[in-house]
Structure formats: structure tokens, C-alpha cells
Symmetry: C2
Subunit: 268 residues, 2 copies
Amino acid sequence: MKDEYVHGYDPRENLRLQDQAGTLVELLHSDTAYPAGSSVLEAGCGVGAQTITLARTSPDARFTSVDISEASVVEAGRKVAAAGLTNVQFRQADIFALPFEPASFDHVFVCFVLEHLARPVEALEALKVLLRPGGTITVIEGDHGSAYFHPDSEAARRSIQSLVDLQRMAGGNALLGRELYPLMIEAGFGAVSVSPRMVYVDSSRPDLVDGFTRNTFTAMIEGVRESAIAAGIVEPAVFDRGIRDLYRTAERDGVFCYTFFKAVGKRE
Amino acid sequence: MKDEYVHGYDPRENLRLQDQAGTLVELLHSDTAYPAGSSVLEAGCGVGAQTITLARTSPDARFTSVDISEASVVEAGRKVAAAGLTNVQFRQADIFALPFEPASFDHVFVCFVLEHLARPVEALEALKVLLRPGGTITVIEGDHGSAYFHPDSEAARRSIQSLVDLQRMAGGNALLGRELYPLMIEAGFGAVSVSPRMVYVDSSRPDLVDGFTRNTFTAMIEGVRESAIAAGIVEPAVFDRGIRDLYRTAERDGVFCYTFFKAVGKRE
């Protein structure tokens, strides 16, 4: 699984994940807080982009953050320690074989993980087992098919599609956000509620123009250039034109739209 | 212009516009209210779907509602009278040649109109002239490129595209919503603020499954079947498959997403 992570593990990618987390914290996480004393499993913490927010927002909850990548777990641990946070334990583990007892967590948190898995419903079922009855799961995913922009551009759409195709080839699904409701239902969660979180960017919002359009979304697409060309799914000239057109949407008269989906469900 | 209105003027279409207005009132209009005594121009009132909401929400404002179609104006007048509302005057008029003095309105309201015009910026400029300095304009538009769904379907996307193509052939732009910010700026409005209004529909929201996915959006696409086929822009079998697939998104495990855009600006 590790080798197939579509975004790779290089330092520039880590920087991108930090930019993304900074810009989107309020939109995605402001309504997530866990009670004092509760135990929370963060499944797929990566380099800790969300871990810091979770641990800060719920200082009296106890977090256990796991990731399949040992290097990511080490980096996340370093970052959480540097932030002076002491309520997180880290552990390297596979989401399909987590080393915990059934019903041992009050809450589970999963962000930008299911989109990379070939069997998202099985992952959700495995996580459900770890929840105590009445415990909640929170799942956040993007959906690259939700991206549209002005000026519109066929090349830009094809460069985005090349990431969607790559992720599909690696067993994932970059259009998973829209499917969260049926996936949660299929995994057997109750009281499922999904809310979209739309990022709308025009030039009256310069922080988002830089923080989202340029440094999060377009940088993410740009990051798969070599893989997409090597896989033969896009012509270099088309891809590069698409990237230029995506940056074009960050100009004064440009507009960029993208939607994340946040689902909450309960083990009944 | 009348003959080119892409949705036509038949009674079933009027019903659809009513369904649409009923389901979306809260989402689109709850933050629009005009002060007592203010004079408001509704440009392009159609059959009055929004007029009733406006006049009810701001009972002490005085509305002047115009439309290029005499038949629509008559129908809107009948409906407003039947609702017992007395604060609306109707008049047949062309948005590019409105029979009013400059600076004669405190506010202007335009909903689902610019998408049908070949020169939306000129329309906005013409409306700006009618506003007193400091007066506001409110513009609401959809964007058919914002529609995505589960299960995804190439045929469904092509049936939607056939409405986008038809509207383009008639001089309009069914993807106008995303462009509201730059259009308002180009027309010279100040303090422009655009907010997206996303309609997210899964089976936990049965009112929207019926009221939006089935009876508003899919019915709207279905309504252009004959025109799209006559124009040669889609094969009947593809179009019909697309419509079936759109209705499929209204099933228990389906999801449908669409976004409207609402802009407010000021004549400075």
C-alpha cells in the first residue's frame, strides 16, 4: 500500500499537506471537538497535518494516531511534540489490521484516507469494530470531480483527470467524497449525516487564492506530473497547459471551486 | 429573445419552476430582505416564482417586477394577487430598455436571468444605472457544470451537456454561476461578495430527493429532450439513458450535488 500512495512521500509534498491543513482547518474541523477523557483513534494520520488541530481543539481527549508509513508516524510525532502537545500517542499500523481491542475507542477520526483504499467499506467496518456502542466516526474526504473553475479549460480538466486515473490505477478513488453517505450506510453505521464543505475562491479572498487554488489544489495536481506522463495517461504538453490554466484561475478575474465532504455516523 | 428562452413557456415548465422555487426558497432567499419603504426592481420575474417570496419576506418594500414575456407577467400578476400580496407592480419590459428613470430604485434583484442573456455584463450595467448610489444589486444564478452525482454516468453528463449546448446556441451560458464575481466587477459594482449555495442530496433528505433531484434538475434536463435531439447535439438513446441515470441518483444509495451562486454588489 505504501508504495502506491499517489501523492508520494517527498518533502515538498509534506509542505503541501501543511499548507492545505492551514487553509482548511476552520472549514473542515471547527465542528469537531471531543469531550474530556474520551479516547479517539485517528486512523491514517499521515505526517500529522490534522493531528495537531485535533489535539489542540480537544486538549483533554486522548488521541491514538496511526499510519501505515513508519516515516510519516515519526514525522507526525516530531511535529506534535514541537507544538507542545502531549495528548497523542503514535503507532505504525495497517488500517486493516489495527492492534486494538474491539470497542476500545469512544470516537474514530479518518481524514483523506479512504480515497486511497481499494476497499473503503471494509476499512469502515474494521474501524466500526473498534468503536464502543454509541461511539462516533467522523470521515472527511475530498472529491476531485467537484473541481470547476473560470476560465474553464479542457486541458485543466484533463490534468485533473490524470490524477483521478492514477489514483484509480493505485486502487483508490479520487471521487470518493460524494459517495460517503452510501459507503457509511453500507458499512453499517447509524445516524449518518453528511455535510459538504465547499471552498469557493475568487480574488476577493486572496488567502484562499494562494492557500487553496495555487498551493493546495494546483500544487497537488502538478505533483503527479512525472507519474502521469510515465503512466502514459496524458501528453506532457496537455498536462503542462492544464497546469498553466489552473494557475490562470488564480488571476484577478478567475474563480475556483472545490468541495470536501464530512460524514459523521454512530456505532449503534 | 422570447422565442429563444431555452426552457420554453409551456404549463409543465411553469410547474417545474414552482417546484424549484418551493424547495430552494430557504437556501437561496432567506438572507434577502428589504427595508420598509424601499423600492426594489425585480428584473426578469418570469412567472413569479421568486416574486411571491420577495414580496412576502419584505412586506413593506415596494416591488416593481418586469419580464420580457407579456404572458409571464400576466401569470405572475395573477399568482401574486392570489397570494393576497399587494406590494408588487408588474410591467412588461426588455431588460436592455427598461422604462425607468436613472437612480430610481434602492435595490435590484435578478434571479435565473443572466444565464439566458448573450450580454450579461451590459445587462448588469443597464441595471446599475437604475440604482441610486449606495443601492444594492442581488444576483442569483445556477451553474450546470456544478452538477455531479453518484453513481457517476457518462450518459447523464452528456444529457446535461446537451442543455448547456442548447443554451449556448440560444446565446446564453448555463455555466454562468461560477462567473458572477468577475461579471459584477466588470460591470462596475463595488463591495461585491459571492456566496455559493450548494444543494447536497442523499436519501436521508427525501424532500430534496423529490423536490430537487427528480422534480427540479432532472425534470429540467428532460424538458429539453426534443429540442436537443432536433438540434442534433445528442443521440436519443444517449439522452434517454442519461435521464434514466439521473433518476438513478435519486435511489436509496444515490447522491446528487448542485451549486447556485448568489452575488451582492453596490452601486458606489
